[in-house]
Amino acid sequence: MAKRVIPGFGLSLGFATFYTSLIVFIPLAALFAKGLSLGGADLWRVVSDPQALASYKLSFGAALAGALINLLFGGLVAWVLVRYAFPGKRIVDALVDLPFALPTAVAGIALTELYGRNGWFGAPLGELGLKVAYTPIGVTVALTFIGLPFVVRTVQPVLAGLDRELEEAAASLGADRWQTFRRVLFPALLPAALTGFALAFARAVGEYGSVVFISGNMPFRTEITPLLIYSKLEQYDYAAASALGMVMLLFSFVLLLLINGLQFWTVKRAGG
């Protein structure tokens, strides 16, 4: 066998594998071991407990709602940033990443103040009869904030890379603007938009810091699953915490697979 020209294979792979095992793999395996140590019946009792079910409903429901809002508005923001010129565009573009950069606790207290009873947004909304802070709507607001950059950042490069000639061809063949959008642009952008949607959803499901302040944390009403895990942990019920953690992790794995599939689709679309 020919000797490898580039050195450092053993060292780099060895170190990377060791570090990944230590930081990620072994601790996550410990979670599964602890959760499964409950045994089938108890495991099922813990993960299908009414309080747990209520928390899944809120976590997944609010995350889904937030991701849908981001799909719509994120797509619009990406479109506006790529296609139109307006003053302050570069600042707006940079600002989109704020939820990635702003610590979640800071976002949490800021949103709680903003949407609270006397807040800038909370007061007028309250007069309209809409309570946001300490309700599932507040949870949705926080999860929308946290997932905002994903759709913008997945759609933006694909849209920028699209050949304008496609649209010109569609137009010269008699399509109006709306038809061109629906038939030419929309299918080209769909895989990227769905990838962004899934990423925003995955991030929102596990989110903790920005939600705990605005949610009020009432069991059965505004308690998200990560918070339920946290309270099990505080009661030293490690096994129940691990079991609920397993449910969330399994869900994340499925989403991760889906996202990989979507990215593959995006690349294929762009290439062919």
Binding site: V5, I6, P7, G8, S12, L13, F15, A16, Y19, V24, F25, P27, L28, L31, L76, V77, Y84, R90, A94, L95, V96, L98, A101, L102, P103, T104, V106, G108, I109, A110, L114, W120, F121, F145, L148, R164, E168, A170, A171, S172, A175, R177, T180, R203, V205, G206, Y208, G209, F213, T225, P226, L227, I229, Y230, L233, Y236, Y238, G245, S252, L256
Partner: protein, 297 residues
């Protein structure tokens, strides 16, 4: 003839773009959305921080607990970021320069911490090192403390920032391939020399980008750190945890004063990130132009 051409171009122009009123409307909606969801909350942090004047603001920041929290946050980032840089470089080197089995598994594992809830990130270390965890009794017998102590905070921070540098470096290094390194090696350079002189300079912007994002997350992490910290004032509180305690004690001005430091970090991160993106784009265009010039006879 001329009028006809103008008409045609106007028709195509209309067909491939939107009417001015629609453009303005779309830009307007997008800006209002971003204003309400991003700019107003950011502005509110600074506004609330100074709501009781500069003296209260400065007092909140010079409070001994706040100063200790700042120090701990800096410490956690100072350990987590370099560790993840070394890991990122090693992983990207192995993945981009060699073929081996299980590469895809490795890439998926690297991505995993992004998909894991911060609370679970903390939980896994409690299971291993907590007083009722697997290694807990042994650690206690030997007088070692990880959970509810600084090492736990560092570990949780390392976990949540684990993918940042590797994720930035892998695509950059994959795109560059191995030709430059092979050239350097055949000209007699050693392995480390090649790494320092050839590979590292060519990925420096990607690396810096990863470091900036990694650092922002390391200093701002809340959920994972909260689980392992135990919230011991003046001992295991990071700045985000200190913000939480102040807020829950209704010390709003002080909470937002500390939060404003973290918000400033976020703004600085965004500025550095944009500057890097701009610089990277300019470098790329320049090298493309240079390549085009070389191809000319």
């Amino acid at each position: 003839m001329a009028t006809l051409e103008i008409n045609v171009s106007r028709v195509t122009e209309r067909a491939v773009s939107e009417a001015p009123w629609l453009r303005r409307l779309l830009v307007g909606i997008a800006l209002v959305f971003l204003l309400a969801f991003l700019l107003v909350p950011l502005f509110l942090v600074f506004r609330e921080a100074f709501s009781q004047g500069a003296r209260v603001y400065l007092a909140a920041l010079s409070n001994p607990d706040a100063r200790h929290a700042i120090k701990l946050t800096l410490t956690a980032a100072a350990v987590a970021v370099p560790l993840n840089v070394i890991f990122g470089l090693a992983a990207a080197w192995a993945i981009s320069k060699f073929r081996f089995r299980g590469k895809q598994v490795m890439i998926t594992l690297i991505d995993l911490p992004f998909a894991v809830s911060p609370v679970i990130a903390g939980l896994i270390y409690v299971l291993l090192f907590g007083s009722r965890g697997w290694l807990g009794p042994w650690l206690e017998n030997n007088g070692l403390h990880i959970i509810y102590a600084v090492p736990g905070i560092v570990l949780a921070t390392v976990f949540v920032t684990f993918p940042f540098v590797a994720r930035e470096l892998i695509p950059v290094m994959q795109e560059q391939g191995v030709t430059h390194e092979e050239a350097a090696l055949t000209l007699g350079a050693g392995g480390w020399q090649t790494f320092w002189r050839v590979t590292l300079p060519s990925v420096k912007w990607g690396l810096l980008y990863g470091v900036i994002l990694c650092n922002a997350r390391a200093m701002g992490e809340f959920g994972a750190v909260s689980v392992v910290s135990g919230h011991i004032r003046g001992k295991t509180n990071t700045l985000p945890l200190h913000v939480e305690i102040l807020y829950n004690e209704y010390e709003f001005a002080a909470a937002f004063a500390c939060a404003s430091l973290l918000a400033l970090l976020a703004v600085a991160t965004l500025i550095a990130k944009s500057a890097l993106e701009y610089k990277h784009q300019r470098d790329r265009e320049r090298s493309l132009r240079a390549a085009a010039r070389q191809e000319e006879p």
